[in-house]
């Protein structure tokens, strides 16, 4: 019933917006990515290069001078905070540090004034939303009941390498009886231990991705509310829980979490997207090992299934907007040499093959790209004896370690992160020939080390703004909005 009401509400919203967009063409760009995938940096770079004019040769309308100007406009939603573009850019350029992880939703609107190929003046409005990537993992919960979610979470937590991290929580879980009377203290302890387990899984050595519910890791303004005080417990019987039991309490709170948090989040920001870019930090998962890659694959599959993709028709535009272009981007491509980018793209393609096949079948355009919204490295070929190693030059953050070297945050180094295989399935093996990541080996003998690198030193152009270097940001823009600017 609630679902039906929700669908009607979405359809009505779509209808109203369809009318508004007839006069003022608007594109809602969905920047999707799990936490640490680089959403904030991507949005900052995108806005900066549109508004300040970057070097984007492949983005046809800007390169040929058809975009007269682009400017920031007041956002449509007064209740959501504004994306702090100015602050992010000054941190990036001035302090040379990446934005800290996003804690709340923010929004930005860019208006592009351009001239079409036939010579008419037009404007295109681009709406972009930034949000904590953890919250994206809530979307799959929309279709799961408490029991399904609890069983799945518990099963997942008994797999390697999670089982070691979940020890404390498992001990507490064993003491709980779902049919005992509800007890606030037990719920609090369970929620705390469960959150600690989720947080431990996120450590860069394990880099697990599938960690719902998202608000447990990034509570936003809901910290300590009952809606966040629940945890999975194993349902003891089939059928509904006994009234007044712990199980019933957990279930009630899970339902209100879905109603208060997840549904509005989806409705306000994801139900009505026109274009989507999926940012994936493949390299962090490769750093951690095969388990992290498999986990990332499952997380992406679940998240991408929540979106409506397919060819745009008049009916779909009226009732249920669909995403007709999806760009899958392996971010931080500047951490490896461009000769390996094709391999990175095949790995990403392997990670999301289910979702892309579905989208292409429905008639959406899908493209895969290795991207660096802000390029922090240069490239170099290092000759060592007879070996030629394709390296990247950059300044790793303090504490980053590779091949017997620990960095202090000021030294520039040529980094060779290890050869990626041509065939991506090699990375997904979990038998004896699996590669070693940080989850199973120390940093000295891991097979791949992709280091976090500080933002580049930028030269200011004549008018005092820095042009951000990038890799394939122009191609991404051309794919995402290029066809709307003809």
């Amino acid at each position: 019933m609630a679902d039906l009401f929700e669908q009607l509400r979405l359809a009505a919203q779509a209808l109203v917006e369809f009318g508004a967009h007839l006069f003022n063409p608007t594109i809602r760009l969905g920047v999707t990515g799990l936490s640490n995938a680089g959403k904030t940096v991507f949005i900052t770079a995108l806005v900066h290069s549109l508004v300040r004019g970057g070097r984007l040769p492949v983005f046809e309308s800007l390169a040929t001078g058809r975009i007269a100007r682009a400017y920031l406009a007041p956002q449509p939603d007064d209740a959501v905070s504004r994306f702090d573009y100015e602050n992010h850019i000054s941190n990036l350029v001035g302090k040379r540090c990446w934005p800290t992880s996003t804690r709340q939703i923010s929004e930005l609107r860019v208006v592009i004034e351009y001239q079409s190929l036939s010579g008419y003046q037009h404007t295109l409005t681009l709406d972009v939303v930034d949000y904590p990537g953890e919250w994206l993992l809530d979307l799959p919960l929309l279709t799961k009941s408490y029991e399904v979610w609890a069983t799945e979470s518990i099963r997942l937590s008994r797999q390697r390498p999670r089982v070691d991290l979940a020890k404390d929580w498992h001990l507490h879980l064993a003491t709980l009886n779902p049919e005992s009377t509800e007890d606030e203290q037990e719920a609090l302890t369970a929620a705390r231990l469960f959150t600690e387990y989720l947080r431990a899984c996120r450590d860069k050595n394990y880099a697990m991705s599938l960690l719902p519910p998202g608000r447990f890791l990034m509570p936003g303004d809901l910290a300590n509310t009952p809606a966040l005080t629940f945890a999975p417990i194993e349902p003891s019987t089939e059928g509904p829980p006994p009234t007044g039991s712990l199980w019933a309490m957990m279930r009630r709170r899970y339902e209100s979490y879905r109603a208060v948090v997840v549904r509005p989040f989806f409705r306000d920001h994801f139900a009505r997207l026109d274009r989507q870019i999926v940012l994936v930090d493949t390299l962090a998962a490769i750093n951690a090992g095969p388990d992290a890659l498999l986990d990332l694959e499952h997380a992406l599959e679940q998240v991408l299934n929540c979106f409506q993709t397919g060819r745009k028709t008049l009916l779909s535009a009226l009732v249920r907007p669909r995403i007709d272009r999806i760009l899958l981007a392996a971010t931080k491509a500047d951490h490896l040499h461009h000769t390996s980018h094709d391999r990175l793209e095949t790995i990403l393609n392997r990670l999301v093959q289910g979702a892309t096949a579905k989208a292409e079948l429905a008639g959406a355009h899908v493209d895969v790209v290795a991207l660096a919204a802000v390029r922090a490295t240069r490239e170099a070929m290092v000759r060592r004896g007879r070996q030629q190693l394709p390296c990247v030059l950059g300044v790793p953050f303090a504490g980053e370690a590779i091949a017997g070297e620990i960095f202090d945050g000021d030294t520039e180094a040529a980094i060779f992160p290890g050869d990626l295989p041509d065939d991506p399935t090699e990375l997904f093996r979990s038998d004896k020939s699996a590669f070693r990541g940080l989850a199973t080996a120390s940093w000295q003998n891991a097979d791949f080390r992709f280091l976090r690198v500080r933002p580049p030193v930028l030269e200011l152009t004549e008018n005092g703004v820095a042009a951000l270097p990038h890799i394939r940001l122009d191609r991404a823009l051309q794919f995402l909005i290029g066809d709307q600017l003809v």
Partner: protein, 358 residues
């Protein structure tokens, strides 16, 4: 533990150590790379134009006609040789100086013939090269191979080296060569930077030629003049377009090109007829109602424009991918506009057009 792929472990080199040789990678040639092709370009339909003339050569058996013409040509050559030899000995016998003069003329003739032959051959080779470039570009847009696209752009730059109005585009493109841009994007970028000014000129050339043909047909007193004029204009148009796109043909290669254009028109004519031609014929019908000559003029102009567009398809070194292909209706609307202007001042135009023919 063994890896199935060639895996080298991570390594690091601090730049403050000095036992390293660090090269800028833009100068380094990467010798081989297995390309992963994971994307297709749904918005591009590869259009590689190949004029297939293998049908003739595949015929089996002795080709008597060719044998005949070869033998006849050999005989003629011999006859000329004997005649020249006789002439020279005759001249020498009569007068020493005259003989030397004759010999000088003969040498000059042979040398100039050689030069012409060399030029024609290079012209033909250039034409073949342009055709090959176009095919490679079409393949690269699909395969997205980064290294091949770089090589292609270098060749395109070499081909357009002598075109002064592309200086800016060439400089920009050379700047982009050092950046990380994928194969298909690189080809599109090259097309945009280098072909845009050329396309504009080509459009201008075609529409001017079509307008002239229309006007002359409409006002010429005799049919013979039309035919000659249309033929001459078409030939000049192809030659100019070929020079514009860097093919610089000689006589033989021009003949070859014209033949290819005619064949291309025959091949694509059926396709194009479905949309634009019918429209245009309809327009022509209305024009013919107004005046028979006007109708004929429009039709001839239309044919010239089609001819020019087909020629562009064949001599452009990059296929149309990033830029829109000029369409007949665009061109014809330009032609009709100028034609309308011409009609108003028919008196002055007719005398002008006829002097042009003569």
């Amino acid at each position: 533990m063994s890896k199935k792929w060639k895996h080298r472990p991570p390594a690091v080199f601090r730049l403050d150590q000095d036992h390293l040789i660090v090269d800028s990678v833009t100068k380094t040639r990467v010798s081989s790379e297995r390309q992963a092709q994971i994307k297709s370009e749904p918005e591009f339909e590869a259009l590689a134009i190949t004029v297939d003339d293998s049908a003739r050569s595949s015929r089996r058996g002795v080709r008597w006609a060719i044998l005949f013409w070869c033998a006849l040509g050999g005989l003629l050559l011999l006859a000329i040789g004997v005649a020249v030899n006789d002439l020279l000995t005759d001249l020498l016998a009569r007068n020493q100086e005259l003989g030397w003069l004759g010999l000088a003329f003969a040498t000059l003739a042979v040398v100039s013939l050689l030069v012409i032959a060399v030029r024609e051959t290079t012209g033909l080779m250039r034409l073949a090269k342009v055709e090959k470039l176009r095919q490679r570009a079409a393949e690269m847009i699909v395969s997205d191979n980064r290294i091949e696209a770089r090589a292609f752009v270098h060749e395109l730059l070499a081909l357009t080296r002598k075109m002064p109005h592309l200086a800016r585009g060439r400089a920009d493109l050379e700047g982009h060569l050092g950046e990380i841009i994928d194969g298909s994007d690189m080809v599109r970028l090259a097309e945009r930077e280098l072909m845009t000014p050329l396309d504009q000129r080509a459009r201008k050339l075609i529409s001017v030629a079509a307008t002239r043909v229309s006007v002359v047909t409409a006002v010429s007193p005799r049919a013979v003049i039309d035919i000659l004029f249309v033929f001459g204009t078409a030939l000049t148009l192809v030659r100019r377009l070929a020079f514009l796109y860097g093919a610089r043909p000689g006589t033989l290669s021009l003949a070859r090109l014209v033949r290819q254009v005619v064949m291309h028109l025959a091949v694509t004519g059926g396709l194009a007829a479905s949309d634009s031609l019918i429209q245009q014929m309809l327009g022509h019908g209305i024009a013919a109602k107004l005046s028979v000559r006007l109708g004929e003029g429009v039709l001839n102009g239309l044919l010239t424009a089609r001819f020019g567009l087909a020629a562009v398809d064949l001599i452009r070194p990059v296929p149309f991918a990033a830029l829109p292909r000029p369409t007949l209706s665009d061109l014809m609307s330009e032609v009709l506009r100028s034609f309308g202007d011409a009609e108003e001042q028919q008196g002055s135009e007719s005398s002008l057009a006829i002097t042009e023919v003569q």
